[in-house]
């Protein structure tokens, strides 16, 4: 099923991966981007972070502003279409590119074709590491009890559920406690959480209770937006639970500050 232009493989035979860090990681938590970069390199990829990347356009798409979404989608397609793979540390943004770009270009066949070609080479980070690169973390340890929340887009649009758990099971000393309602939305929903704050709050309040009742010290997930929502609620409630993107843990970077802990990096 090689959709990748073989000329891109280079002499090394290592796939050329374009890393799309996502706008939230770029703005709020660069550590996740560096964790992704390190993991992809360990998994035998040549990684490039194209400078022309901004946002996948999902906020515009979900707001009904298809013209804006199309403009941003074109931007992203142009920035990434020459890579063997485009990898994203977010199921939600990966789902946008993989499933929704082609819907956006229903009436622009040329762009639709380019969107479909790109979609075939687009992967969420954790599933790319396991499914495409058969990557297993080695020599990573973290003595902690954690719980995992499955973000909805990754889970339902891309079928990501086993992959993060498989990767995390190779982290020495880490034990994962099951989270009741691990597959239930946390109430983030992109702009939803600020458009309907009180509904969003009622939802995340329940999620925070479920997280607390696992007794875990760490909350892990694969999407920064959802993590910010849950960690922000936990912190407001005075909880001691700390949150990391699963990639940070797998890359051995969870000895650093958790989400919302003072950091300059």
């Amino acid at each position: 099923m090689s959709l990748s232009p073989s000329s891109q493989m280079g002499f090394s035979g290592r796939p050329r991966v374009g890393l799309f860090v996502t706008c939230l990681v770029d703005l709020i938590r660069p550590r996740i981007g560096f964790a992704a970069l390190a993991l992809l390199e360990q998994a035998g990829c040549d990684v490039v972070v194209p400078e022309a990347q901004t946002c996948c356009g999902q906020p515009a798409f979900n707001s009904g502003a298809s013209d804006h979404a199309r403009a941003l989608a074109k931007n992203l397609i142009k920035a990434f279409e020459l890579f063997d793979y485009i990898v994203v540390p977010s199921g939600s943004c990966a789902g946008m590119i993989k499933l929704h770009y082609k819907e956006l270009f229903k009436s622009e066949p040329a762009w639709r074709d380019r969107a479909i070609a790109l979609a075939g080479r687009t992967y969420e980070l954790l599933s790319f590491l396991t499914d495409v690169r058969s990557y297993t973390p080695a020599g990573v340890s973290l003595k902690a009890v954690a719980t995992y929340h499955d973000s909805c887009s990754g889970l339902r649009e891309l079928g990501i559920e086993k992959q993060p758990r498989q990767l995390l099971s190779n982290v020495q000393g880490l034990s994962l406690k099951p989270l009741a309602g691990h597959d239930v939305c946390c109430g983030f929903g992109g702009t939803f959480c600020v458009k309907y704050p009180s509904i969003s709050n009622a939802i995340v309040e329940e999620k925070a209770r479920d997280i607390e009742s696992t007794g875990a010290e760490l909350l892990l997930g694969g999407d920064l937006g959802c993590l910010m929502n849950m960690a922000g609620k936990l912190h407001r409630n005075g909880s001691k639970v700390r949150a990391y993107h699963a990639a940070e843990v797998i890359a051995g970077m969870a000895d650093g500050p958790a989400l919302g802990e003072e950091t300059s990096f």
Binding site: D26, V49, E51, N62, S63, G64, N75, F188, G232, R236
Partner: protein, 474 residues
Amino acid sequence: MTALETDFKPFKTRVEDALANRTLKVAIERTTGTARLKRAAAVSTWPNFAGARDLGRRIKDHVTSNLDHYLIEFERNAIASGAKVHWASTAEEACEIVVDICKAANAKSVTRSKSMLGEEIGLPLALEKAGITRVETDLAEHIVQLAGDKPSHIIWPALHRTREEVAELFRKHHHTPQNSDEIPAMVRSARRQLREAFLRADVGISGANFLIADSGAVCTVTNEGNAELTTTIPRVHIVTAGIEKLVPSLRHAMVLLRLLVRSATGADFTQYTTFHCGPKRPGDADGPEEFHIVLVDNGRTHMLGGDLNDMLRCLRCGACMNHCVVYRQIGGHAYGGTYPGPMGSVLTPELDGLAGSRDLVHACTLNGNCQQVCPVDIPLPTLLRGWREKSWNEGLEPRSVRRALWFWAFAARHPFLYRMATAVAVRVLRLFGEAGWVRSMPMAKGWTSHRDFPKPASRTFMEQYRAAQRRARK
């Protein structure tokens, strides 16, 4: 407070009222929580649920794309069975037809078995205006009627009422007051009350879960047997049904029945699954003398072949709302339309207009759980997004939202400008933060009124990445 009072408040006020009502939350969770568990169990023990779901989807799509054919076949067979078939293109027409039949039958009192289509076309109000006594015979609808409410769920119309509230209503309204809060005693009281109405009614009105084209029969499913008493005892039986309820034959109905019941309650089958075909024949022990079927369009042909075509597959099982994180917090009345939850948010703009219901299409996290549990795979998130696009294109979105999105999209189209803007943004954001978190920030109350916002790193990823690249080159 009843649903009728909440109708005129704006969506956000209705939401606040609902969220402040802790009893409501408990009531919703009791019913939908059980429904979710039972459905999950039913689906997990169904060897080829995915196959059945796909078949169900294809049956409904087949009917939708051949609606004219099956409507005519149904009408022909229904007439042959002795039924009278009426066609109503609007809600008003449908109500008029029903009221006229009632008047022609000189009806003083009618019994109704639960029908969401009846609610959709406003039949309760139409009967009231015509001076006809209406008795709801479904236990939950009976509660709703006593309370002067509207249904808050399409399967459990009274799920917003706790047992204690129901006991209070029964004490107030039932002939033979009973003073027990025990469910069996309350059911007995309702049965005594309703039995009289069943025997007294001149006309019985029911809905339809399926219209069987090759026999002209109408299928209803209930768990209380009230539909059977509604449709067999009175002189006249009227069915009101949406035209999308058609299936080619009994075989097709069986596929959909299994999907419908397991998705709705998790049971294998309902207590009563009845096929009504024509009026009483010579020699029949019971049955109505007249059997009328009112086929209602009310916007359905407008959906046909358009963006909402997939919605015509809906079986009205309620699984989407049972699994919706928003419904579970705000309940059915906050939605304001006849149908709540995800399917309601898709249908209400079509039935009542987008301008008055644009909040419904936005008050959704697009998490996709509704589509996942939908027995006929309706892409509810996609349909909601379609409404959002329409709302955007028709200029119904607030100017502040349009402006914010425009600026953001403009910057994001220009990477250089975007890099500068984001570099400034993180530095400004950091000014509001202390000890890692932003607790309050102007223009971000939506977030910070309920949660803290993680203070960003001092430089964006792209700044740090570029600096690292430069160092590496040196």
